[in-house]
Subunit: 467 residues, 2 copies
């Protein structure tokens, strides 16, 4: 990796007047990962305001062989956005909304528009942009494309990859790839835009994108149900899909332990059901029909009760109750902190195997570290679990955290046996690339490297992330 | 391009006993394109029965630098499946259904399973596989992946790219890429399976795939409506999406000319409406709610009438009537033949611009060839039109057909001005690659070539197709 030289820095500054800083205080917030897990350094923060400025900057870096880290909102969880000596190129100032065309169910925005802003733009025009995640106020469109972000609506609408119609990007040599088509169909060679999605900034800088929009649903019903066994959750999910023709927007599994920690550690929460079942599922159904979601929820829960698939249920009667139900799910991560934190994992397995996976991973980790407690929750509909292991009550927290990497290997080995993924949503970044090598075939790694070599022969784009 | 040598042929035959032929009669059906537009030749037809046999064959070809054309069901429309001296590798005998897992909404089938068989496998397990096109009885899964096929359900379910969870493929050096994951989420580096989709066999041989399945809809309503203007069709489509929460499965525009030719040239057809409007749309709505689709259709058409968006409408009262409506649309191509055939185009533009495009393209082509007649029909919801130009009544057909390429350029230039695609569904193959160069940027072509060079440095896979 070639770090910036005085010559390349001088040329960059001259070429981007008013669009750079070397001020330590101004740069500081962008050099420390938001949870404080990594702090990096850079000799220069570039803040281009147009695609043309991005192209100029990358062309100069390419000519000097200077390494670049591209950063969006800085909300990534695997350290991919933090430079360690590279030039830091922020896309946050690419702020133009190029068009919103309701009749195309499409809008074109630049990379620095936040996810929340994109949702709001769609809403203003009577449309829905479905990608939604906790960091949406800061996360940018460029960032969520580069990391192929997931979130809470994947079950129905897919990951970010599924929501992109077109991409504009600056290639590693500074040329502008203009793939901002609003087309639904185009079979004229390789679909080059796919290359940039989930590439974590290694194949170019995404500067703008055309996104798919959807109709706004006419009805929405939310319930929390209690289950005797997590094995029933997958069957219930299939029933819910059949009952709604695919109108299941969320299907979130929660375990008694996680729920009880939310009730214990998070203020203003209360048990949602009259009983205290070992497992919960939060279900959200939507329908294009007025009152369709409510009717489907009634049909689903009535049949599930009769069949013994669920033991208890509460349907939200109003928006406040709906928010209360969602809060129980959303506070699951925060509720672990007062217990000393834990070993966290973002894994996925085939949906049908999720309950068996939970059983086998839990047995393995309890054998590895007797007395630990397992909190598992997440997007069952996507096969995606947040599988967190916390210390036993009264256990030494520092000693427990010290075993994180070893413990993760135990869990990830089970994931691999289930043909799963060790990073369902968060990517590899700097944190997980080495670990991923353990589970990827040499052919996969070599093929990714061959593509990278073809597109970025100097390896100047985010050189420390991916393979 | 290196054609097979006696040595490479001998080695291939020895390595694949019982899985090859050089018999002219046996090979003949696979060397002529199904409409008879191209007839090629090959010294050897390989018909491997397992992925391992495919890998063995490709490894031998790679060692000798021998060129290969891969063929599925042979239903392609751009000549990509026809060899001109290359070894012909058919995937039709890869016939194993590896698994169907309803709880994952997924099934894994080998490349030679036909699209129709895949649909039926899904149905047997209470699920729906949405890709559907006229050639589905012959088209294979390997073929529809390699060409990223579209068809009639793209509006709701997307192209083949959107329906693939995992791919197994033999790389150009004979190594097997095993990407048959059933995962909905996996962010661990580049999504390599995307590479093989729509690559027209140039980056490897798809040997098996894991496909997404969907719930079966509970209700379905079909109507034909009459419009004064094609400009109203796009507005009506937006209303239909809003009314159903995206449950519009088909939205097919037809013009009076095409309809009148169907009524004239196809037996047992009759005018679907009491009036004879200049434009028709066939609408199919579905819903997960029992009777939901019928209710939504009523709401949609009632409001559209009141607003003056439509002038006439007929809702199919039973399956027979539904089939009758669909036949009017499906016979549009066949109805052109007795008129002497025509210049055919498979183009797409942004949905919102489709009516303007029709106006401008028609003006351009009528100027280029006064007296010609334009039949335009297709998937408005995807922005995809079959834009066919036929000779004037009594005109010399041979002279007309001789102007096809020139006429196409007139139409495709308008497509380019509308940011459209000159091959929405059918791919480029041997037929359209040269023409596509006219509309692609040098950067796009160079990037595709760089990827191809990285994956297939000897260019042995379908060397004559794409860039």
């Amino acid at each position: 990796m070639t770090l910036p030289t005085p010559e390349s820095l001088a040329e960059l500054k001259a070429a981007l007047p008013g669009a750079w800083t070397q001020d330590a205080a101004e740069m500081a917030p962008w050099l420390t990962e938001w949870r404080g897990r990594w702090t990096g350094e850079t000799p220069l923060l570039l803040q281009p305001r147009t695609t043309e400025e991005v192209a100029r900057a990358v062309e100069i870096c390419a000519r000097h062989g200077t390494a670049i880290v591209t950063q969006g909102g800085g909300t990534g969880l695997v350290g991919g956005q933090i430079p360690y000596g590279e030039v830091l190129l922020s896309t946050r100032k690419l702020r133009t909304v190029r068009d919103v065309t309701p009749l195309d169910d499409a809008m074109t925005v630049e990379a620095g528009v936040t996810l929340l802003e994109a949702q709001e733009l769609a809403k203003e025009k009577g449309r829905f942009f479905p990608l939604s995640l906790a960091a949406e106020g800061s996360a940018t469109i460029g960032g969520v494309i580069s990391t192929n972000a997931g979130g809470t609506a994947v079950l129905r609408y897919g990951m970010m990859r599924d929501l992109v119609l077109g991409i504009e990007a600056v290639m590693p040599d500074g040329q502008v790839f203009n793939g901002l088509k609003r087309l639904r169909k185009d079979n004229t060679g390789y679909d080059l835009k796919q290359m940039f999605i989930g590439a974590e900034g290694t194949l170019g800088v995404v500067t703008a994108a055309t996104l798919k929009l959807f109709p706004i649903m006419r009805s929405r019903a939310t319930a929390i149900v209690g289950l005797e066994s997590h094995h029933d959750a997958v069957v219930l999910l299939a029933r819910a899909k059949a009952e709604t023709g695919g109108g299941v927007e969320a299907f979130e599994l929660m375990k008694r332990l996680g729920m009880s920690l939310v009730l214990k550690n998070i203020p203003d929460t209360r048990e949602p059901l009259e009983t205290t079942p070992p497992w919960y599922v939060l279900i959200e159904l939507t329908s294009g029909e007025p009152d369709g979601a409510e009717a489907a929820m009634e049909r689903l829960l009535t049949a599930a009760f009769e069949e013994g698939l669920i033991v208890d249920a509460a349907i939200a009667q109003n928006d406040a109750q709906k928010a209360e139900f969602w809060r129980l799910r959303e506070e699951h991560s925060a509720a672990l902190k007062p217990e000393g934190g834990g070993w966290k994992h973002d894994v996925s397995v085939p949906v049908s195997r999720i309950a068996d996976f939970i059983d086998e991973a839990t047995a393995a980790v309890e054998k590895f570290h007797p007395g630990c407690r397992v909190s598992v929750f997440g997007h069952v509909g996507d096969g995606n679990l947040h599988y967190d292991v916390i210390p036993g009550v009264g256990e030494d927290v520092a000693a427990f955290i010290a075993r994180w990497m070893e413990g993760s290997e135990v869990i990830h080995d089970v994931v691999a046996r289930y043909d799963g993924s060790i990073s369902a949503e968060h990517g590899l970044g700097r944190l997980k690339t080495d670990e991923a090598r353990r589970y990827k075939s040499p052919l996969e790694v070599a093929t990714m490297q061959a593509i990278r070599q073809a597109i970025d022969p100097q390896r100047i784009m985010n050189p420390a992330v991916l393979f």
